[in-house]
Amino acid sequence: MFEISTFIILFSMFLALVSAIIGKTVYDKILAVNIFGTVTVLFIALFGFLTKRPEFLDIALVYALINFISTIAILKFFEYGDMSSSSIEKEEGDI
Amino acid sequence: MSKYDIFFHKISLIISLALLWIMLSGHYTPLLLLLGLLSVIIVTIISSRMGLITFDQPILQLYFIRFIPYGIWLIGQIMKSNIDVCKRILNPNLPINPCLITLHLSQASTFAKVVYANSITLTPGTISIDLEDSSVEVHSLSATGAEGLKTGNMDKKITHAEAAPYV
């Protein structure tokens, strides 16, 4: 069972990467990378069970954290052109 | 917020971080427990210096307990709308009819508003794209999803959970 679903998940990781490459706008690419990260978390968790090493779950947890933070950081960079600007100050103006 | 409240927030933050450390670590030697206590205290000092402990609710770490029955109901809704969206994707004609609707928010606290917007987004077929003070704009994949939100079932359940008597 684990082998079959690990293979399917590897295939869908490949599909997510292809959609990140052919995406037209930058938001399509960010969405594809976000999907790739979620699928990778599931892949690491499954791979830990496949090789009988559940310690891999710690890596999956950290990968989930990094995936969320990287998505928010890239979005902030594309929306404001700067990592350090506060979104609250800009909300006052006319966007 | 009074000094008394902030003190209780710090204590509850320390307790919940220590429980998280014990759960994730799995080793219970004195050295590792001491290191864990040290890092918990450093995290509490840093977050109080950053001004993160100013939430407008009682104690956040216990506040979410009243939303647990709502969460179980939400998982059932997620499964239903997942089956609907999967059918639409697998249909060769792709029968989608996207629309934008605006919903009124009847919750008082910020936390309950965020829970409402997040559960709209978590349900496949509807995504909240703009959250204002008293209204939320929703992009829906089909007219049936928008109708389901307009009946206000989810809104009523969250307002009910927010005013729950326990905790």
């Binding site: 069970f49 929306e79 | 794209i129 959250l131």
Partner: protein, 101 residues
């Protein structure tokens, strides 16, 4: 192979198939906002099915508590990321395609 193993194996395979369905939706949908709906199928159905299958396979111990923590964490963060994506796409002058009501 006991009954619980069969149920959890079926849950895991169903979850990985639902991920493929979600990616098919990402390829088929016409514009960005409808693609987000297809992506949320992956984030909810795939994650819930696979991680609950693993929890069922493992039984109750420290490992399954960690799996539950990953599940709760993904269910909290992915709608936040999807909301941020939709909001900044709307500010980035991407107009959603609307159907005829």
């Amino acid at each position: 192979m006991s009954n619980i193993d069969i149920i959890s194996g079926a849950l895991i395979v169903a979850g990985s198939l639902s991920i493929v369905v979600g990616l098919l939706g990402v390829y088929r949908m016409p514009d960005f906002f409808t693609r987000l709906h297809a992506a949320s199928v992956i984030d909810t159905l795939g994650t819930i099915l696979i991680l609950s299958g693993l929890i069922l396979y493992q039984g109750f111990n420290l490992v399954s508590v960690k799996l539950l923590l990953i599940l709760i964490f993904i269910l909290i963060t992915t709608p936040t990321a999807a909301h941020a994506l939709a909001k900044s796409a709307l500010h980035g002058k991407i107009k959603p395609i609307l159907g005829d009501d």
